[in-house]
Each structure stands twice: as C-alpha cells, then as structure tokens.
C-alpha cells in the first residue's frame, strides 16, 4: 500500500511538472521571444485557458501527500518554511500578472505585468529545482522527524546544509533550462510567425546547455549523495530512467532540426518524466532522506497514514483522477491548434 501511494504521489508531481512546466517555461522565455504587443498576447493566450488547471496538480499532489503521508507533509513543509513562503508569494504574483494584464488599459502597466510574469516564473522554477535537489541530497532530520533549514549556510553539502548549496544550485539551473526549453517548445507549437520562429530558435539555443547540465547532474548527484545508486544496483530496471532521458534528449534534438514542435514537446515531456521518475527510484523507500543523523530518514513506513484511510482513499482517488483526465481532455481538445487563430472573448 505504501509503495503504491509513493508512486501515486510521484506520478501526480510528474504530471504537475509536465503541465505547469510548459506555462512556467513560457514565462521564462516570454520577454526573450515575444516582442510585440500582439505576440505577447498570443503567448498569454496559448496558456490562458489552461495554466490555472495545470497549477491545480500542485494543490492536488499537496493534498494527496498530506493525507497519505502526514509526517512527510508536516516535516517537509515546516522544514522548508522560508522557501515555501517565497514560492507562495511568487505564485500569487504570477497568477495576478497573467490575469490582470488583460484588464490593464495603460501600456506601462502591461509592461509591468509582463516583467512580473517573467520574473516570477523564473524564480518559481529555480525554487522548485532547488527544492527537488534538497530532497535528493537529504536534510538534517532530528529524532522527532522535524528539521529547519536556513536559506544558505556555507554552500557545501554535508551535515549542515542550507537550501542553497553547490548541488542544489545545479538542480535549480537544470530545472530552469529544462522548463525554459519545455515552454519554448509549447510556444512553438501553439503560435505562428515570428514568435514561432523565435521560440524554435530559443529551444535550439537551450538544448546544448540542457544536455551539458543534465550530464553534469549525474556525477554531482552521486557526489552529493553517495548511496543514491543503491536502488539502481539492486533493481537494474531503474536504469530505464537514464536511458529514456538520453533517448528523449535525442528526440528533442532531431525534432528541433525538422521544426516538428509536437514531437519535440513530447520528447521534452518524456525527458522531465524520466528525470523525476529516476530521482524517485533513487529515493525509494525514503521520502525524505536524512543527512548527518543516520536512521532519521522519513520513510514510507514511518510516514504512512492509517490503513483504512488509505483503502478508502484509493477508491475515490481513482474515480477523481479519471474525472480529471476527462476534464483535461475536453479543455485541451477544445483549445487545440494555434492559439492566435482562435477567436476568443465573450459573445456569440
């Protein structure tokens, strides 16, 4: 049961990264590729009907984590207190900048919201990348299952790490590059003309950087967390993840040369999914590994909610996710195609 819920939460987070990833990515490259008022409106229109739904995956994964692994929720959320609060403020700023830009008559105000949208998307991605790297590296968990991390200490991994050290900065940079590429590909798929071309070019520039940092991140992970390959040794199936990562990078490269946006975007989805699944496979059965204090890991068995809660949960979760897939299919189907060709607004 615990293993099942571990992968359920992991899958929901992967869905979140893939879906919200492209609209965060649009935000990161927004100022670089969308130059005119028309292009900016097209870029926003491409994510307009879906970004809020994408963000719901974060809330739904959070809620699922809360009820399936209460100790993990309590420990991780209080331990990462400051970065999470900053994430909340960034989510607020990003949400209002997307929606309120369209209601602004004053060009200067629109420029302000453009900047806010791009900056908040960029920092959110950086924080998410660093957060994931923190989970992989481990945190100094006490015997009561709690910890509290400052934003930075001496920038080294080890018994007294901060949220930011050399390893988590690599994680942050990798997230930034991967999500920026993901967003560029989505823009290339959903827009046309100069904007589409610039999005393609941006993706082509990002690809080599992403390849480099991806390759760098593998030895860095082994350095930061020496036993991270343990599961890979006992379950060679796990090596499927890095294989898919490399294959997807190749697909993105080839599709970019042929300007096939949809295939490149699919490749990028598989890349993100395989990176995250590979990280999850390395963690299992820990949910949050401990550094400095051996044996204090927050593990599945330690954090798991009661058996009845989980059995009932499985019933409604399956039903609910089925419905969610249905809604998402309807929305993405109705808003398929290039965003700039679509009529929009009110009225018949």
């Amino acid at each position: 049961m615990g293993t099942l819920w571990f992968w359920i939460v992991a899958l929901m987070l992967i869905a979140y990264v893939i879906l919200d990833g492209f609209d965060l990515g649009v935000g990161i490259v927004y100022l670089l590729v969308a130059k005119t008022e028309r292009e900016r409106r097209d870029a926003l229109r491409a994510i307009g009907p879906v970004w809020d739904g994408n963000e719901v995956w974060l809330l739904a994964s959070g809620g699922t984590l809360f009820f399936a692994f209460p100790l993990l929720y309590a420990s991780a959320f209080s331990g990462f207190y400051l970065p999470l609060m900053i994430v909340l403020w960034l989510l607020i700023l990003r949400g209002i900048s997307i929606e309120l830009r369209g209601h602004s008559h004053v060009p200067l105000l629109r420029t302000f919201f453009d900047g806010l949208f791009s900056v908040s998307s960029t920092f959110l991605t950086i924080f998410f990348g660093a957060a994931l790297a923190n989970v992989i590296r481990g945190v100094p968990i006490g015997s009561d299952g709690y910890f509290f991390l400052p934003l930075w200490t001496n920038w080294r991994v080890g018994p007294h790490p901060g949220i930011l050290d050399w390893y988590t900065v690599i994680g942050a940079v990798l997230a930034l590059l991967a999500v920026a590429l993901h967003g560029s590909l989505y823009l290339a798929l959903k827009t046309e003309g100069d904007l589409e071309q610039r999005a393609f070019n941006q993706a082509r520039r990002l690809w080599p950087a992403m390849l480099t940092v991806t390759l760098l991140s593998l030895p860095a992970t082994v350095l930061a967390r020496p036993n991270s390959l343990q599961n890979y040794r006992t379950h060679p199936m796990a090596f499927l993840a890095p294989v898919v990562v490399i294959a997807s990078l190749a697909i993105v490269f080839i599709a970019l040369r042929k300007s096939a946006a949809l295939i490149a975007l699919m490749g990028s989805c598989f890349y993100l999914a395989a990176m995250l699944a590979g990280a999850a496979a390395g963690l299992f059965p820990a949910l949050l590994p401990s550094v400095g204090n051996e044996g204090h890991d927050v593990t599945i068995s330690r954090a798991l909610a009661g058996p009845h809660t989980l059995r009932v949960g499985l019933v409604w979760w399956s039903l609910g996710i089925l419905l969610a897939f249905m809604y998402f299919s309807i929305v993405y189907w109705l808003f398929r195609g290039k965003a700039s060709q679509q009529e929009e607004g009110y009225g018949h």
């Binding site: 307009g48 009932v312 809604y327």
Partner: protein, 451 residues
C-alpha cells in the same frame, strides 16, 4: 509575542483575507447560473450581457481566491506541522478530495466559461457555468467537512503512534455538524453575492444609467437576497446554534456572555462583557429568550461559563462575544432590509424608491463583515481546542518555526495582500464604471493591433 500567538495570527489573517473572495464567488456562481438560465428560457439579450458582466467580476475574485487559497493548504504543513502530522490521516482526506474533485472541475470549466462562449453552443456555455458553480460549492463542502471534524470530531480512531485515522468514510462525510455548518455557510455566501449584485443594480438606477441591466441585478439580488437572509436565520442558523449548544456549551456561553447557569436565561442583545467581574455592562437583555431559542421552552436551564473549568474557556472571550453579536445583529438588519425591498419589488415600486436604493447600495460591505464575524465565532468558540476535546491549539503549531520567522512571513503576507487589495479596488471600480455594455478589451485591443 510568542510563537503560538504569531502562528495563530498568521493563519487567522490569511484565512480571513482569503475568505473575502470565495464567499462572493460561491454566491455569484449561483446567480450567474440563474442569469444564464433566464437567458436560455427568454432569449433576451440583456441576460447574456448581465452574465458576461458578472463573469468578469467573478473571474477576478476567483483568481484572488485561488492565489490566496494556496497558502491555506500550505500553512497546515508549514505553521501547524504537529497538527498536520497527527490529523493528516483524517482532515487530509477532505483537503485532497477538494483538490481532486473540485479544483480540477472548476479550473477546467472556468476556462471554458470565460474563453469559450463563441466555441460552445448556448447549452454548452450554460453547462460550463453550471459546472463552475458545482465545483465551487463542492470545494466549500470539503473544506467544511475538514473544519467540522475539528469542531466536532467523529469517525476517527487513534493509532498507536499517536496519529488519527478515519474509521468510517461515510460517517466523516455525513458528520451532522458539517451539514449544518455547510448550509449556514453557503447561505451566507449567497447573501454576499446577492448584496453585491443588488448594490451594483442600485448604483446604476441611482445614476440613471444601464437601467435595464440595473433592474435585472436589483430584482435578482433582492429575491435571492431575501430568501438567503431568511434561510440564514431559520432554519440554518437556528439548527446550527442548537447543535452547538449541545456539543460546545462553552462556545455558546461565551457567545451569549452567560456567566452563570440560569433557568429562563435572557438574550443579551447588546452590552460589554466584563470577564473579571463576570458580568455584562450596560446590558440590553430580553428575558427568557435564550432558553427558548436553544431548547424551545422559556423555562429550560442554559449552561453558563461557571459550569465549565476555567482552562476550557474560549481564550479570547470578548472577541467571541462581539463576533457573535455583530453577526447576529447584521443578520437581523439584512432580513429587514431585504424584506422591505422584496415587498416594494412585489408592489412594483422598488426601482423608483430612491430612499431604499441608497441603503441597498451602501450595504454591500456588511455581508463580508457578517460572514467574517460568523467564522470568527466558530473558530474562537472552539478554543482552546484545535480539534475539539482532542488536541489543544498550543500543541498543534510548528515548534521548529520561531516567533521571528513567523512574524517575518506574516509581514510578507500583509504587504502582499495590501497590493492585492489595491488591485482589487481599482479593477472592480473600473468594471463597474464601464458597465455591462463595455466592449471586451481583449477583442477591441486585438483589432487595434491587427489594423
């Protein structure tokens, strides 16, 4: 201030601010469905124009509800980690169900409702509006189930490691407290929606502009407002109060300022409680009414604070007393105002009676105050418990987050929400000034750049 107090203020401030938005959107969602239904039935264009106008206002408030709502879910873990660890197996369930059953539904169909009117048939667009309404009301239900479990824990068992889990899913969902609280709360949300709508209607009629839409807003707002204001007192408020008296006598005694148990207890309409001297200053009391309201007979004995150990008294009693009296006082005013307006509407005089349009215009902030006061009543009344009778508030907060850190983020939220308030006022003012006939900015802006 100590860490516990700061964590409490942190949550109280962010939740109070957050709930300013859902109370309007849940109420408006219902009213928009009514407008869309009227448009389908009558085919009259001004119903669609009205629905589009309120959809714009809905969208901005919904967005602010979303961005201020995410911190609420996070804060269970960040500021109340010990509470989350012990009760996540119970209240985590409705919280997760809210995300999965309601937020997905709402977000998907809100996009369709706002951006898809041209792409959907008339019935399809009605269905999108209805599903947004359904999603927002389901969301309210799950949050109330979580809160009701804290007020009146049912269907749980304690596991050996000190954490709670659900023992019966249906008993958790059918917690009587949850259904009473839900009915009272949703009727309160409809009051906010109806007052805001009738207030804008009254403004247009007083300004002699957009009068067709103005009359529609006023008519719908007054009819729905009257029904929901009546339902707020009877049966929802009445039943909720009686159930509360049975299960949280300390809260009722604090709300009413009843220091000593009494047969034929009076209802204190106004007064200032003095908790040191255990009496009410300047009381304006009606004899025996409290006994009658709770037990249906004027002779019944009502339990006072003297029956309750001092360490189980709600910790901020004066605030509890005032919250309750503000809520109940405003609720009475709402019924009076809306009954009068409904009578004038029935006699065909409402639109010309400027003397009543003024109070309708000016009353729109009051339901926000009444709803906030009602929630303060519920939450302060529950003190000193976090989960009634099971976990004290002082046991639930994050022990590793110091007072300084909590103050830092509280100040951050104060600043952030000040910004949101300014944007909200500017936007809403603009929407209302432009009126329902204003052209759509997206569309007009686009044609400018295309040319």
């Amino acid at each position: 201030m100590d860490a516990l107090t700061l964590h409490r203020i942190h949550f109280a401030f962010t939740i109070t601010y957050h709930y300013l938005f859902p109370q309007l959107t849940m109420g408006l969602a219902l009213l928009i469905v009514v407008l869309k239904t009227l448009s389908l039935k009558s085919g009259k264009a001004h119903y669609d124009v009205s629905a589009r106008f309120w959809a714009k206002i809905f969208a901005v408030n919904f967005l602010l509800g979303v961005v201020t709502g995410i911190p609420m879910e996070f804060q269970f873990g960040t500021n109340w980690s010990e509470f989350s660890r012990r009760t996540g197996g119970v209240i985590g369930m409705p919280i997760a169900m809210e995300g999965i059953f309601s937020f997905f539904l709402e977000s998907a169909f809100l996009g369709l409702f706002l951006f898809g009117e041209k792409r959907l048939s008339r019935w399809g667009h009605w269905a999108a509006a209805f599903l947004v309404f359904l999603g927002s009301w389901i969301s309210g239900f799950f949050i109330i189930v979580a809160n009701a479990w804290m007020q009146h824990p049912v269907a749980y068992q304690l596991l050996p490691n000190g954490v709670f889990e659900v023992s019966s899913f249906w008993a958790l969902m059918l917690n009587p407290w949850a259904w009473l609280e839900y009915a009272h709360n949703m009727s309160g949300a409809v009051i906010t929606g109806a007052f805001v709508m009738s207030s804008v209607g009254a403004l247009y009629l007083l300004q002699r502009r957009d009068e067709e839409c103005g009359r529609t807003f006023l008519k719908l707002g007054v009819i729905v407002g009257f029904l929901s204001c009546a339902a707020q007192i009877f049966p929802t408020g009445d039943l909720h109060g009686k159930y509360m008296a049975k299960h949280q006598p300390a809260a009722i005694a604090g709300m009413e300022g009843l220091f000593h148990s009494e047969k034929g207890a009076p209802l204190v309409v106004m007064g200032q409680p003095d908790f040191e001297a255990e009496k009410i200053d300047n009381p304006l009391a009606v004899n025996k009414v409290l006994s009658f309201l709770i037990y249906g007979t004027t002779a019944a004995e009502v339990e006072g604070l003297d029956q309750i150990p001092r360490d189980q008294w709600p910790s901020t009693l004066p605030l509890l007393f005032y919250s309750y009296h503000i809520m109940a006082g405003l609720g009475t005013y709402f019924v009076a105002l809306m009954a009068l307006a409904a009578w004038l509407l029935w006699r065909g005089k409402l639109y010309e009676s400027r003397w009543i349009l003024w109070p309708i215009l000016l009353s729109f902030p009051l339901p926000y105050i009444a709803n906030t006061a009602g929630w303060m009543c519920a939450e302060i009344g529950r003190q000193p418990w976090l989960v009634y009778g099971l976990i004290r508030t002082s046991e639930g907060y994050s022990k590793h987050i110091g007072a300084g850190t909590s103050l830092f983020t509280l100040l951050g939220f104060l600043g952030m929400y000040s910004l949101l308030s300014i944007l909200w006022i500017v936007l809403l003012y603009n929407f209302i000034q432009e009126g329902p006939q204003a052209p759509d900015h997206h569309a007009s802006g686009q044609s400018v750049t295309a040319a």
